[in-house]
Symmetry: C2
């Protein structure tokens, strides 16, 4: 890979004049260069203020020699770590607020937006990355390299200077987009994370991240009292268990006074939990919450539960948690994945949003592209999260968007939070794919302000990440016309393209087993639990395709508020993007386009592939505007993206054609592989440089 990039650099630089400086992507959206002199007047010298001062000096692009004032005391309009931009600088009620304000100021300068005056408050109190990092240094669903926290694979290894530098870089990047929390180990947690040896490393991480306003959280295994503490039980109502957790939590806070809290995956996919002892999720969560409360910590309790026995996995989180609404402590937040199944390319929102009114509920988004092409496909997730956050739950009447149902504004819960499963690793560019950085960025920006549009976020990110330094107005206008416009368009279309070539019209979970990269609608090994196989989800047969979740089927529709339940229940009113999520329909079902369902599916797959080909053209055309290193890396990824989109199309169409028994519309490109060959393909999906 390195060799070919090297070759292409030489080659491109010869074609294109003048050559653009090679960039590695290491600096993310915080690229150095082009700072003007500035004076900073600040009230104090806390770590956050020192960072703010440094950022201004490093990145000021306002009036040369201007004076920027950072002052506390911004008034009641500014909440939490919010801030106010003024003509003279930033005011806030916390030092961290000042730092956030400075990042905003500098971002405005770099993106050419007016400096502006006014207040910006965070939408969510806690804006948290979830790292699915294992203590051995591997990362579950990580496509950007191995763990930045558990380098070397030894949780108890001595912390090195390089570790601290890396964590500081990470802290700065997160602070610049407002992220203020990080869960540094996998939700499939090892009990050892609470051992003294391991807590030493956690403490070191927290110490490095503290100046950036980032609190550390840990995932814990519910059976830790037995496994680590050698107790005979982990029953949450057992006093020895309660005492054990209290002691461990106290030890954590002794080391890390501002520790954020615990994240728990319990009674889910084989993980232990309170139900193992006949207790409810609420009893389990509350026990931990009581241990954390004296220290100001919270419990994030995941609602991602499902059993093979139920006839519809999509119904289960709701069925399990709704009866517990009102029975959780105030410092428990139920963490709910955006959709009812599992981070699929497109899902309707989980019906728990807007329904749990007496419990804090936090969205869990997946930044890492487990089901969206890993770090191989260029898929910008902004539009997906925008669609999700703006979905109306009708939980308190029209306008009860997911965003409002979770940010505390609708139901007034004490805490609010949002989590994103991180896509960060030891890769030089952090995320494997240069454009995957945009998803990290978008998560942070939306966690701060969920009213932002994905177009605005893409625009910002592109300017910060790719704009050449300096240049006159005409040059900038040319860059906007010839680079920014087309590439932003590509980003904004990329999610819909992926849906089209993977799972259009509400199809879901038809991935090959285990790796979730390539297609596997046929995947159903003997003896596997059905809800882990694609046929469970697509239900294709001679009679049609799709999962019947109507009142006549699994009745999952009834978990939604009345207007939505009715809308989803009727194939005539159900949005086509969710059609096969809620309905099993005959192959010749007439679509809004006038096509049959079968033809429509085929057209969508083709459209998805065509879009990726178009993205390749967009990217190749902007070669003069991109440094050779990043150009070649993205070009190479897009090539693979295109090949694999074609495999998706061919595999799904030929597989489903066995049931539809209808020809692929003849105006469409024909498959280029036989189904039997496609079923044997093992796509090289791993990405660890």
């Amino acid at each position: 890979m390195r060799a070919i990039i090297g070759a292409l650099i030489v080659f491109n630089m010869v074609i294109m004049a003048p050559p653009v400086r090679g960039e590695s992507g290491r600096e993310l959206w915080l690229r150095a260069g082009g700072a003007d002199p500035v004076h900073v007047v600040a009230a104090g010298d806390s770590a956050a203020i020192e960072l703010a001062r440094g950022e201004l000096r490093r990145g000021w692009r306002g009036k040369a020699g201007a004076t920027v004032t950072l002052a506390l005391g911004a008034g009641a309009e500014v909440r939490g770590d919010g801030y106010r931009l003024t003509a003279s600088g930033v005011t806030a009620n916390t030092d961290l607020g000042l730092l956030y304000g400075v990042y905003d100021l500098l971002r405005r300068q770099r993106t050419g937006r007016p400096a502006g005056e006014g207040v910006s408050n965070p939408a969510y109190e806690r804006r948290i990355l979830n790292h699915w990092d294992n203590l051995d240094g591997s990362v579950e669903r990580g496509y950007g390299g191995r763990s930045i926290f558990w380098r070397g694979g030894g949780a108890a290894l001595a912390v090195t200077e390089r570790d601290r530098e890396l964590w500081a870089e990470y802290g700065r990047a997160n602070a610049s987009i407002g992220i203020n929390g990080t869960v540094i180990n996998n939700v499939n947690a090892a009990p050892e994370v609470l051992s003294d040896a391991c807590l030493g490393r956690v403490q070191a991480i927290a110490d490095v991240l503290r100046p950036y306003g980032i609190r550390v959280y840990l995932s814990v295994k519910f059976s830790s009292p037995a496994q680590l503490g050698k107790l005979p039980t982990s029953d949450p109502l057992d006093e020895r268990v309660v005492a054990w957790w209290r002691e461990r939590v106290a030890e954590v806070y002794r080391r890390i006074p501002d520790f954020g809290g615990l994240l728990v995956k319990a009674n889910s996919e084989g993980q232990p939990g309170p139900q193992d002892f006949g207790r409810t999720h609420a009893e389990g969560a509350n026990m931990l919450a009581d241990a954390l409360a004296p220290h100001g910590g919270i419990v994030m309790w995941r609602a991602f539960v499902y059993n093979p026995g139920d006839r519809d996995r999509a119904r289960q989180a709701y069925a399990e948690f709704m009866p517990l609404d009102g029975r959780f402590r105030p410092n428990v937040i139920v963490q709910v994945k955006n959709g009812p199944v599992d981070f699929q390319p497109r899902e309707p929102f989980n019906p728990l949003f807007g329904a749990m009114k007496k419990t804090a509920v936090m969205p869990e988004l997946q930044i890492t592209q487990e089901y969206l092409g890993h770090s191989i496909h260029l898929v910008f997730l902004g539009p997906m999260w925008e669609e999700f956050l703006r979905s109306d739950t009708y939980g308190a009447g029209p306008g009860s968007t997911v965003a409002r149902a979770t940010d505390g504004s609708l139901f007034g819960q004490e805490h609010s939070a949002i989590a994103g499963v991180a896509n960060i690793g030891l890769d030089h560019n952090w995320c494997g794919h240069h454009f995957a950085q945009a998803n990290w960025y978008a998560f942070g920006r939306l966690a701060w302000d969920h009213t932002l549009g994905s177009r605005e976020i893409a625009d910002e990110w592109l300017r910060l990440t790719f704009a050449p330094p300096g240049g006159n107005r005409a040059k900038r206008a040319q860059w906007e016309d010839e680079f920014l416009g087309p590439v932003r368009g590509m980003m904004l279309r990329s999610w819909e393209a992926a849906i089209d070539y993977m799972m259009p019209l509400g199809l879901h979970h038809i991935f090959a087993g285990v790796h979730h990269y390539g297609p596997g609608p046929w995947y159903a090994p003997e003896g596997m639990r059905p809800d882990w196989t694609p046929p469970y989800y697509h239900q294709a047969d001679a009679g049609g395709i799709g999962f019947d979740r109507t009142r006549r089927g699994s009745d999952a529709v009834s978990q939604y508020a009345g207007p939505l339940a009715a809308l989803f229940d009727d194939p005539e009113t159900c949005p086509e993007m969710y059609l096969l999520w809620f309905h099993h329909l005959p192959w010749n079902h007439k679509m809004k386009s006038g096509r049959t369902l079968w033809d429509e599916i085929a057209c969508r797959y083709q459209r998805g592939l065509d879009q990726v080909r178009e993205f390749q053209k967009v990217w190749d055309r902007v070669e003069p505007y991109v440094d050779a290193e990043r150009f070649a890396a993205v070009q190479s990824k897009l090539r693979r993206h295109c090949r694999d989109a074609q495999i998706w199309k061919d595999a799904c169409l030929l597989y489903f054609q066995q049931f539809s028994r209808m020809p692929i519309p003849y105006e469409l490109e024909r498959p280029v592989q036989d189904l039997e060959e496609l079923m044997k393909i093992e796509l090289p999906w791993l990405h660890h440089n």
Copy 2:
């Protein structure tokens, strides 16, 4: 393979109603069924006449109960094994002529052409298949399975009943298209073919083929006297050597009185020859000719010679053989490949054609698709051979086509012949690809009548091979509109498509090493002789691409007759299809299209790929008109064809782009692989079911 075909059969039969009877392709263009009663009146009862009688009874579709007369004595207008169709049947001067006439009659009935009256004479006296079959049963450049002659790999193995049936099937198929000779072993010959043990099998083959009018020939190794005969030398002027050959030839004729003669590859690609003893090709060939003359046999002496020392391989056959013109015995025919290099996707004709006036010269065509996609790509070679045979050599002024320069009509040589390297093996459908049968068919038809057009041949072959039996006029018209027209169009465009996605504009020999299937413009292992590596042929560098064979270059142009030499020498008048064959031109050379050479190359590769995609659509649309077995087999081949055409395009464009340093025109589809990956691909090119 079998499993998937099985699956698809079931599947297709369900889609399409009514199902078309499954066919294996075993019957070639001689499909049984639908015969009407007929009376045959024939003058004799020779084997050929008995066969003719049987064919009429098996296949008559004329007036039911009609009487067909087969009579000898057709007059001087009918030459050799020619014939005359009359209102009452066939007249000819030989029994074989009657058989050929019967095949013509039946073909006309099956293809719906008028029975017609008139004379048909063979263009060439000898119409010969060259089998590159080794005595161990393998076939060099064979993509239709192992050898039908050396089954079991033992030349001396006992001949079985299954062998005889197979050879008879083969004989009948060839007779039906006028082929009258077969060289049953590889030109890279083993000395053992002349051993008594081996000659026993040769005799058995000749005995089976005799009734079909097919004479057997053998390839011999020039060093056989030393290797097999244990003589101290194989010097053609050594009397012991002369005597050895005389004895062996006599032994062959003792067993096979109508034996055809010997084919020799001498001093070529490491094969021994007269030059090893300081003798000329003429001295070597004449020695063998003298041994054969008393028995009526001929020598076919290949002109395919080239040495790594010369700066242009394309010049060498001419340089070596022209000085020998007039020095060969009358029963020597110099066998010359159509082009000056080696069966490339497209070559100008070899300049020996039309230039050697005092020597019989026979064209060697390659039916097996060594350089045209093996039995994987659908490439109909009719248009290639039509272009070649109609090329004007100007050898005796305008109108001196290759056809006329070789059929005896222009220079009056005693013998005339044409050879085709066979694509036949033990595959159930004989040729691996159902459409490869069309190339066997086309060779036979053109060898009989080189004025036939490839459109007419394709039309005939499709009607014979795919037309459903029976049906009324409306049904037949529908079949012609919906199957025949589109599929014939596909066949006629397929060769140009292959040129486009492999080697447009006169490029040649840029194949991967050894297997000659995939692209390998970069292929040049350390120490390999340069004229076996693609860079020798494409000559790509920063200054341009193409082999300079002008007067300023290797001067190969001067081997052509005056008008052609001038035409080819000037890039403005050189046909673009040969442009880079004769010229090294800068990347920005302006083409007739107005595009630069680089852009034109890129557009051709794209056009080639697009054509293959179009062929897939054509084929999928005709599904209702094809039996499920052949439909699925061809569909599967076309899928692979398309994938590999894309690999060709990407590999060649990305490789050449390193030199052109120009972008691929942005309106074209982008490559889907990196060059470095493409250079590592090992295409699974082998085809032995």
